[in-house]
């Protein structure tokens, strides 16, 4: 309980508060009424497991090789299967990053996905945690 919360005496002073109710619409019902469907929802297509999917915002340009750009939203499924070639969110030395999972000679690596040189491949060690697997990307383009 918050320290400033305490029960108070409630004095009931009954008053009538008359309210309005819903009117019944009149007129010919729309013939299209039964054929309406929901609008298309691509997010539901990206998010296969709602409960284990979390969204992150991308800042930076080192994932362009994977088609993920600065400002994109990525859906990350924590319960997604860790397979080679998949884009994974990983915790390396307490920092979170996104890389491609690779398997070479029995050793797992987190490979960079940058278009330019200069990013190193990181070997997966016991202290590396795979936070989740990227399930999809959402990008917004200017329309104004």
């Amino acid at each position: 309980m918050p320290d400033d919360a305490y029960p108070i005496d409630v004095i009931h002073v009954p008053r009538q508060m008359p309210l309005a109710a819903t009117p019944v619409p009149a007129g010919f019902p729309s013939p299209a009424g039964d054929d309406l469907e929901d609008s298309i929802d691509p997010i539901a297509w990206v998010v296969r497991q709602e409960r284990s999917t979390f969204w992150w915002r991308i800042e930076g340009d080192s994932l362009e090789g994977a088609g993920i750009f600065d400002g994109d939203l990525v859906a990350v499924d924590r319960a997604g299967h860790r397979r080679k070639g998949r884009i994974a969110v990983a915790v390396v030395d307490g920092a979170i990053t996104i890389k491609r999972l690779a398997l070479r000679d029995g050793q797992w690596f987190l490979d960079p996905c940058a278009r330019r040189e200069g990013y190193k491949s990181i070997p997966v060690t016991e202290s590396t945690e795979i936070w989740g697997v990227v399930a999809g990307v959402v990008r917004r383009l200017p329309i104004e």
Partner: protein, 430 residues
């Protein structure tokens, strides 16, 4: 002859839930002492293991431990109930894969019926724990027992002793007897400090001693509640397993205000917001209310300031969950209770709220014979809820709520609403 319950009940309990939710998204919180603060940032309502090790108690007021926090680098966060609620929902959805019978006991505890799993009970509990961890990142412990009281104690044992690997099974009598002899009686579900003191006077200090006390003496020492607890400790189920949460009879939305509310206008904004929230909650649960009570009071802990409190009830006829109706009724009640000049007087109100009563399922609510005509229909409420769902709470508000929000609760250290707000998503730098 007492026949112990034979159907196993599991209690899965999230470890340091609020702190664990924060740690899923903020990796800098791992390995350091973290506390989460109550409404208005007053005291600690959740602690990481590191914070517990520093001796920070549940409910410890922040102003009394500033030195300690500074010395040990304790990170304090305001409560982020939006985040905890969303994470709790996700945990619940994972658990539904594991048993058809669940009972949500609190935001971080769920009873799971494990009867019918036979020998697969322990693997099932272990898999359940792993699935929650994997899907949500939240660590949990599972306690299994023939009664709810024993399941809770088994969970306590699972948390305290790493030897159990997170799952402790009190269906096993050897494990149960071993643990009950070592757990203090105060850890038992429903045993408060007063009962604990009475029991101590009779030399009862461990759970095993409580279990073995005569039932009649239990009733004499405590009440029928204590007697039932003793029976539960012996494996006799006395607390029902409820498939569905009991229907809510009442509902309240109350908040403390960060700064005292001096004028009627500011108070009315706060109450309009609370009434709006209450109406939303009603619609979520498919309920209508028959009465609305508005109350507000000054800060009792500042006795040097003028004190007053007010509360007024209004009957809602017909019963409703319409935001406009609810706010209009709340305004009338608030106005009726206001003392003196609406532009402000000597009273600074620090807490206000609305309480709804006479709740009924929408379908069961009595209808008027001649419903008055009105332009605002249920579709408007649907639209209001849909917009606020999609674009975040408070995207659309009634003008009465105002835009200043000077009444908003203090939460200066709140983390982002990582999972429910697009503009507050966690950022990964790549």
């Amino acid at each position: 002859m007492i026949v112990p319950g034979t159907d196993p009940i599991a209690l899965i309990d999230c470890n340091n839930f609020y702190v664990s939710c924060e740690r899923v998204f903020d990796l800098s919180l791992h390995g350091i002492p973290v506390i989460v603060l109550s409404n208005n940032d007053g005291c600690a309502v959740a602690r990481s293991d590191e914070a517990k090790a520093l001796g920070i108690k549940m409910g410890a007021p922040v102003f009394k431990m500033r030195d300690l926090m500074l010395r040990h680098g304790v990170r304090a966060l305001s409560s982020n109930y939006t985040l905890y609620g969303d994470m709790s929902r996700r945990v619940g959805e994972v658990l539904q894969d594991f048993s058809p019978r669940l009972e949500t006991y609190s935001i971080d505890e769920t009873f799971v019926d494990l009867s019918g799993f036979g020998d697969r009970m322990i693997p099932q509990a272990t898999a359940m724990r792993a699935a929650v961890r994997r899907a949500t990142g939240i660590p949990t412990c599972v306690g299994i027992g023939p009664t709810k009281t024993l399941a809770k104690l088994a969970n306590f044992a699972a948390k305290k002793n790493p030897i159990f690997g997170g799952v402790c099974n009190f269906m096993d009598e050897m494990i149960r007897d071993f643990a009950l002899a070592r757990i203090a009686v105060g850890e038992v579900w429903g045993i408060g400090s007063a009962t604990q003191a009475k029991l101590a006077a009779q030399g009862i200090r461990t759970v095993a001693q409580l279990r073995d006390m005569p039932l009649a003496l239990g009733r004499k020492t405590g009440t029928v509640v204590l007697e039932r607890t003793v029976a539960e400790l012996r494996g006799v189920p006395c607390i029902d397993f409820e498939d569905v949460a009991p229907q809510r009879k009442g509902m309240a939305v109350t908040r403390s205000s960060g700064t005292p509310m001096m004028t009627f206008d500011v108070l009315a904004q706060a109450i309009a917001a609370h009434a709006t929230r209450a109406a939303e909650k009603l619609r979520q649960h498919g309920l209508v209310a028959g009465t609305i009570t508005v109350f507000y009071h000054t800060n009792k802990h500042k006795p040097d300031r003028p004190q007053t409190s007010a509360s007024r009830s209004v009957k809602l006829s017909p019963m409703t969950n319409n935001t406009f109706d609810m706010v209009a009724a709340a305004m009338r009640a608030a106005k009726a209770g206001w003392k003196g000049d609406p532009a402000g007087g000597v009273y600074g109100y620090t807490k206000a709220g609305v309480i709804l009563g006479d709740l009924l399922a929408e379908a069961e609510a009595p209808q008027l014979l001649f419903p008055p005509d009105r332009p605002r229909d249920a579709r408007l409420m649907d639209a209001l809820d849909t917009i606020n769902d999609r674009f975040g709470k408070k995207t659309l508000v009634l003008g009465r709520e105002g835009f200043g929000k000077s009444w908003v609760t203090k939460a200066n250290l709140r983390s982002p609403r990582y999972t429910t707000r697009i503009e507050e998503l966690p950022v990964v730098k790549v």
